[in-house]
C-alpha cells in the first residue's frame, strides 16, 4: 500500500500523500474495526486453528493434525450432505434466476398493478426462515396441504426421501427470489428506453429484443445474481432445520445442517470447524472463478 511519506514540519503538519493527516480518522474507524477484527477475522483464524484439533465442550483442545479432514473425506453422511447441497443448488439457483428475471421484466413494464406485483415478489424475502419454513410445511402437508389439494395429488413433499429435498427447494425459491428480482429490476431500469425503442422500430419481436438487446445489457447483474445465489445456497440451513431437520434419513440435509447436527450439537467442535473450513474453500474458489470470468467479459 501507500506508505506514509509524512514529513515532520511542526506539530500539526504531518502529511501523507501531500495532505494533512486527519488523526481523528482512526478514532472514527476504531469502534468498527475492533469488533470486526474480533468477531470476523479473529473468528475465522481461530476456526482454522480449531479445525486441526479435537475440542469437546470441556477441557483443552488437542492438536490432531489432519485427522478431522481425513475423517470428513471418508464420512458417508457428510458426503451425502455435500451432494444434497449441490442438488439444492441445481434446483434453487436456476429457479431463482429465471423466475426473478421474468418477474423483473414484467414489473419493469409498469403496467397496471405493477406496484402490487413488486410488493408481492419481494415480500417473502423480508420474513424469517421460521415463517417460510412453517408456512410451507403446512402448504406441503401430504393430506391437507393446499398444494396437494389443488394438484389433486398425494405427494409426500417433506416426509419421503424422494421428495423432501424438492419440497425444501420450493420454499427456498419463494424465500430467496426477492433479492434476484430487485437486482434485475434495478439493472433493467438503468437501460436507456431509446435502446429498446430502436429495437422495436427495427422490427424486433418481444423475444428478440429480450434475447439480443436486454440480456446482454443485464449480463453483469445476471452473473452477480448467480454467484450470490450459489453462495447463499451453499449456506442453506435455517429452512432445512425448520422444515425437515435434514430428514427423512438425511435426504434433505445440507453441509451447514450437518455441521450443526453432527458437530455442534454433539460437541465435536474441531470436526465441525474442519467441515466449515472445507465449505469456506469451496465458496472462495467459486468467488474467485466468478471474479475472473467477470473481468474477462468486461
Amino acid at each position: 500500500m501507500h506508505q506514509a511519506v509524512g514529513a515532520r514540519r511542526g506539530r500539526h503538519r504531518i502529511t501523507w500523500q501531500g495532505a494533512r493527516i486527519d488523526w481523528s480518522g482512526y478514532a472514527f474507524v476504531l469502534p468498527f474495526v475492533v469488533p470486526f477484527l474480533l468477531f470476523t477475522i479473529g473468528a475465522i483464524l481461530f476456526g482454522a486453528f480449531v479445525a486441526f484439533t479435537d475440542w469437546g465442550i470441556v477441557g483443552q483442545p488437542e492438536w490432531v493434525g489432519l485427522k478431522n479432514f481425513q475423517e470428513a473425506l471418508s464420512d458417508p453422511l457428510l458426503g451425502k450432505a455435500f451432494f444434497n447441497t449441490f442438488r439444492y443448488g441445481l434446483i434453487v439457483v436456476p429457479g431463482v434466476t429465471i423466475l426473478g428475471f421474468l418477474f423483473a421484466l414484467f414489473v419493469n413494464q409498469r403496467w397496471p398493478g405493477y406496484l402490487f406485483a413488486r410488493f408481492a415478489f419481494y415480500a417473502p424475502n423480508v420474513v424469517s426462515a421460521t415463517v417460510i419454513g412453517l408456512v410451507w410445511v403446512w402448504m406441503l402437508d401430504t393430506q391437507f396441504g393446499i398444494v396437494n389439494q389443488y394438484l389433486g395429488l398425494r405427494i409426500p413433499w417433506l416426509t419421503s426421501t424422494d421428495w423432501a429435498l424438492t419440497g425444501v427447494s420450493i420454499a427456498s425459491i419463494w424465500w430467496d427470489l426477492g433479492l434476484a428480482f430487485v437486482l434485475f429490476l434495478a439493472s433493467l431500469q438503468e437501460i436507456d428506453p431509446e435502446v429498446k425503442e430502436a429495437a422495436m422500430i427495427d422490427g424486433a419481436s418481444r423475444w428478440q429484443s429480450v434475447r439480443y438487446v436486454i440480456l446482454p445489457l443485464v449480463r453483469p447483474v445476471l452473473s452477480l445474481v448467480i454467484t450470490l445465489q450459489v453462495i447463499s445456497t451453499l449456506r442453506i440451513f435455517s429452512q432445512v432445520h425448520v422444515m425437515t431437520n435434514g430428514g427423512p434419513a438425511s435426504a434433505s440435509s445440507s453441509v451447514i445442517h450437518y455441521i450443526y447436527n453432527f458437530g455442534i450439537i454433539k460437541f465435536r467442535l474441531g470436526y465441525a470447524s474442519a467441515i466449515a473450513l472445507m465449505l469456506f474453500v469451496v465458496i472462495l474458489v467459486i468467488t474467485i472463478v466468478h471474479r475472473r470470468v467477470i473481468r474477462e467479459r468486461i
Binding site: 493527516i21 474495526v33 470476523t40 426462515a129 421460521t130 467442535l269
Partner: protein, 287 residues
C-alpha cells in the same frame, strides 16, 4: 372496444400485451398467496383448519389460535427479539456511519487497506465464524444473554458501505464551514454530517433491523433457556419436526405464531418499500 383501447394506450400497452399482463398478475397473486393462506388459517376455528377442500375464508373469525400461541412465552420472546434487534441495529448503524464517514471523508494512512479488507470480508459467509465464535463465547462464559446475541453482528460492513457511498458525494463546503467555526471533527460529524445522512441511515436501519429480527442460527446456538429465546427460534418449535406443538394442536396455532412473527418485517417493508429496494440495490449491485 375503443374504451379498452384507450385504457391500454394510456398504460403503454397493446392488445398483444394482455396475455403477458394477465400471466404476470397471476404470478404475483400466486406469490403472495402463501401469506394470505397463513393469515386465513390462523383465524380459522379448529375444525376448519383441515378440510377436504380448500377454503380460503374462515367460516368465522376466531382468535383461539392466537390464545394458544400465548400459552408459550411468546411475549417474552418478542420482547427479547425487540431488545436484541433494536440494540444491534442502533449500534450497527452508528458504527457503520462513523466508519463510512471516515473512510469517505478523512485523510489518514491505512484507510485504503481498511476499506479493502472490509470489502473482501463480504465474501466470508457468516456461518464460517459461527463455530469458532460459539467455542469462544462458551469459554468466556458469554452465553444466554442479550450481549452474547448482539455482539457478533455489530460491525456490519453493509452499513459502513452504504454510509461511505453517501459521504463520498456529500458537499465538502458544509463541513468546511463548520470547521471554520471551530467545531471538532467529532462535533462536525454528529451535529452536521450525520443529521444530513437521512437516506443512508434509513436504508441501513431497514437492512440491519430485518437481518437482526430474522437471525436464526446464532441465537439458536447461544441461547440455552426458554426465557432468552428470540421470536424466530422460539416460534420454530411449532414446526412438526423440531418441536411437538403442531402434532398436538394442528397448524392453526403455528400459523398464528408465524403471522405474529412476520408482522414487523412485512409492516416495515410495506411502509418503507422504496428505501428497502434502494438499500438492497445500493449495497448489492454496486458492491
Amino acid at each position: 372496444m375503443s374504451a379498452v383501447r384507450r385504457y391500454l394506450k394510456a398504460h403503454r400497452m397493446t392488445v398483444v400485451d394482455v396475455p403477458a399482463w394477465i400471466l404476470g398478475m397471476l404470478a404475483s397473486v400466486l406469490w403472495i398467496a402463501p401469506f394470505i393462506w397463513m393469515v386465513s388459517t390462523s383465524l380459522k376455528p379448529r375444525e376448519q383448519v383441515m378440510t377436504r377442500y380448500v377454503e380460503w375464508l374462515p367460516s368465522s373469525v376466531v382468535i383461539d389460535n392466537y390464545v394458544k400461541v400465548f400459552e408459550q412465552p411468546v411475549a417474552r420472546w418478542a420482547l427479547n427479539s425487540f431488545i436484541v434487534s433494536i440494540a444491534a441495529t442502533a449500534i450497527g448503524v452508528l458504527l457503520g456511519a462513523m466508519a463510512g464517514y471516515a473512510l469517505a471523508r478523512l485523510h489518514f494512512p491505512g484507510k485504503r487497506l481498511v476499506f479493502g479488507v472490509l470489502l473482501a470480508s463480504l465474501m466470508i459467509p457468516t456461518e464460517m465464524s459461527v463455530v469458532p465464535l460459539y467455542i469462544a463465547f462458551l469459554n468466556v462464559g458469554l452465553t444466554d444473554n442479550y450481549v452474547a446475541i448482539v455482539l457478533p453482528s455489530i460491525a456490519s460492513v453493509f452499513s459502513m458501505y452504504i454510509f461511505r457511498q453517501f459521504f463520498l458525494g456529500f458537499p465538502k463546503e458544509i463541513e468546511d464551514a463548520a470547521a471554520i467555526d471551530g467545531a471538532s471533527r467529532l462535533g462536525t460529524f454528529f451535529r452536521i454530517a450525520l443529521p444530513l445522512a437521512r437516506a443512508p441511515a434509513i436504508a441501513a436501519t431497514i437492512l440491519l433491523f430485518t437481518a437482526n429480527w430474522n437471525a436464526y442460527l446464532w441465537p439458536l446456538l447461544i441461547v440455552f433457556t426458554e426465557q432468552m429465546k428470540t421470536l424466530p427460534v422460539g416460534v420454530a418449535q411449532f414446526a412438526p419436526v423440531t418441536g411437538a406443538h403442531t402434532q398436538i394442536s394442528g397448524f392453526g396455532p403455528a400459523m398464528a405464531a408465524v403471522t405474529l412473527l412476520s408482522i414487523p418485517s412485512l409492516g416495515v417493508f410495506l411502509l418503507l418499500q422504496r428505501y428497502f429496494i434502494e438499500g438492497v440495490t445500493r449495497s448489492g449491485i454496486k458492491g
